[in-house]
Symmetry: C2
Subunit: 341 residues, 2 copies
């Protein structure tokens, strides 16, 4: 118990809109596997948040709760170390979100840079679902309900943590003590992995990503279609490493950094063909993804186990989030009908 | 049980921002006492909604949950006939509201005429709390959670029922069946009771109202300061009945309509003094309020009983609202972790 209370609390998670891919692995999943040893980690299957821009396709959101859970278990997120839980099954999160909406002005929500960008990206314009505009508040509910102090986010999500902390400070001021805790964004040191075409980030919808359950042939085909240096026509030509997707992936996944640096030098000088570099990357990815694919297959044959993991994680999370809500209700002096829950 | 299912379902309630007054009695409370015999009636102590524009004063909202409950019991709302429940103690309402936010656009919320008026009235301008903008969606959650078909509202609240029914239709279309029910506004045939000054509606904040627990002296003083006809200087003068607060109250509370009509005729003709009419109104109000005041006093001496009423009503309401949420979750095909609740 002593160790538990000393470990910093991390909240992280994924919107359940599709199985995770190698970009998620590089950007977050492998960090979670490492962090679960030193942190008290909660991973949220964010199906309620996924509905804020997918209400026309609830089936996609529903079916991917289990797909993403399989990905978690496949990469080595350990349910004995990490609490994996389902957002929509935690009513205290909705209750907190509803309460927090009173502490945030509409104008403030509309100024949120992430929301502004995403509204444009999704082409919502004036038809923004209210749930979408309000999702930063729901996210504040998620983070604070677990009293997370560390929240791993991409650089573009940093304004979400700011919004959360504004709510935390406003409420703590009103309550008169540090009832909620201020969270810190943990922004990954490595940038986003590019897609195979080198132009965009890895994205399933653009055919630019490779899933964690990809077969050996799919991995090979993915590497083969990677963008390299279009002017590097013969192996003997000098080549450019910057913007070269194959090297970006070697940087991300090849653990022998010295040898990657040597390859880069040879590529720049001339005398190293794309095919050789791609075969090396393919070997690295085949080795990385084989055990993940196999574990994913094994776990997906035992959905009873997966559901047990989600049930016990969610039930643990329910107690924690409910207790935060109760504490806040009492701290703010709201009405309580003790004994009717 | 047969009778139960045949009775139409009514949802009604009050924001818990202050004890109720004679205006509430005339406009809604006495209707509820009548309707509870023919309808399955749910009355919501709307503390969560009250917070949408009172987040700086949660104590006011909290303490008035019990005050309003006392008013209900005092006027004869019978907890054996009517389910009295506390909004904030029903998590399924927050869950439904969060889900519904995805079905409503921000533009639609901003077009709501009631919200537009209230934003102006409260001087919110651009600093509207998000919870306030979204409260029509929370109200839709309340109404639909109980599957209410009848919702008594003031004329100015009719757009709220429209908003609710838009959500109901949109969701039923997506679910493919009439899972949620369309509600009808029940708009009272009598208009709003004026305040003592005759200019505004009865409002505690303007010193223009009389509480249900008013003492005999307070009732007398309230009647004495009522606005009549400023040109009716002597009893022998002809007087004007229209806009005359005393007659408005006699219309609302004196059950002997024939005799009120006769008084009006005499007042118009001349020969009836204000004092005489006021004494008659005072008698009517003293008689009306005496048993209410006495019951309120008796019940407030037994808060254990009041809490029991709220606990059992809320627990009944929790089962109903939770069941609607579960049904909707399954109807929309959302993820469900059966067995973890």
């Amino acid at each position: 118990m002593l160790v538990e209370t000393v470990r910093p609390i991390i909240l992280t998670g994924d919107r359940t809109t599709g199985p995770l891919h190698l970009g998620h692995y590089a950007g977050s999943l492998r960090n979670r596997v490492a962090l679960q040893r030193t942190h008290r980690q909660f991973v949220l299957l964010a199906d309620a948040q996924a509905l804020t821009d997918n209400i026309d396709d609830p089936e996609k959101v529903r079916s991917n709760v289990l797909e993403v859970a399989l990905d978690y278990l496949a990469v080595g997120i350990d349910p004995d170390e990490t609490t994996i839980c389902v957002q929509s099954a935690l009513p205290a999160l909705a209750e907190l979100a509803q309460l927090y909406l009173n502490f945030v002005s509409v104008a403030r929500l509309e100024r949120n840079p992430t929301i502004k960008d995403e509204i444009q990206m999704r082409g919502f314009e004036r038809d923004i679902p209210a749930g979408f505009l309000c999702y930063p508040v729901a996210q504040a509910a998620d983070i604070t309900a677990f009293k997370a102090t560390v929240v791993p986010v991409g650089l573009d999500q940093a304004p979400m943590i700011e919004q959360t902390n504004e709510i935390v400070r406003r409420i703590n001021r009103q309550v008169g003590r540090e009832l909620l805790v201020v969270a810190k964004a943990l922004i990954p040191s490595t940038g986003r992995l590019p897609g195979a075409d080198g132009k965009t980030k890895m994205s399933k919808s653009q055919g630019n990503a490779i899933s964690l359950s990809a077969s050996p042939n799919e991995i090979r085909a993915f590497v083969n279609r990677m963008y390299t240096d279009p002017n590097h026509l013969r192996a003997s030509d000098p080549g450019v490493v910057e913007g070269n997707v194959v090297f970006a992936y070697l940087d991300a996944f090849d653990t022998d950094h010295a040898s990657v640096d040597e390859l880069k030098a040879r590529y720049r000088r001339g005398g190293l063909g794309d095919v050789t570099v791609k075969r090396r990357l393919e070997d690295v990815l085949q080795e990385l993804l084989k055990p993940i694919r196999e574990r994913r297959q094994a776990v997906s044959n035992d959905l009873g186990y997966v559901l047990d993991v989600l049930r016990s994680g969610t039930s643990r999370a329910r107690a924690i989030t409910q207790s935060t809500f109760d504490e806040l209700r009492d701290g703010l002096g709201l009405f309580s009908l003790a004994g009717t829950r």
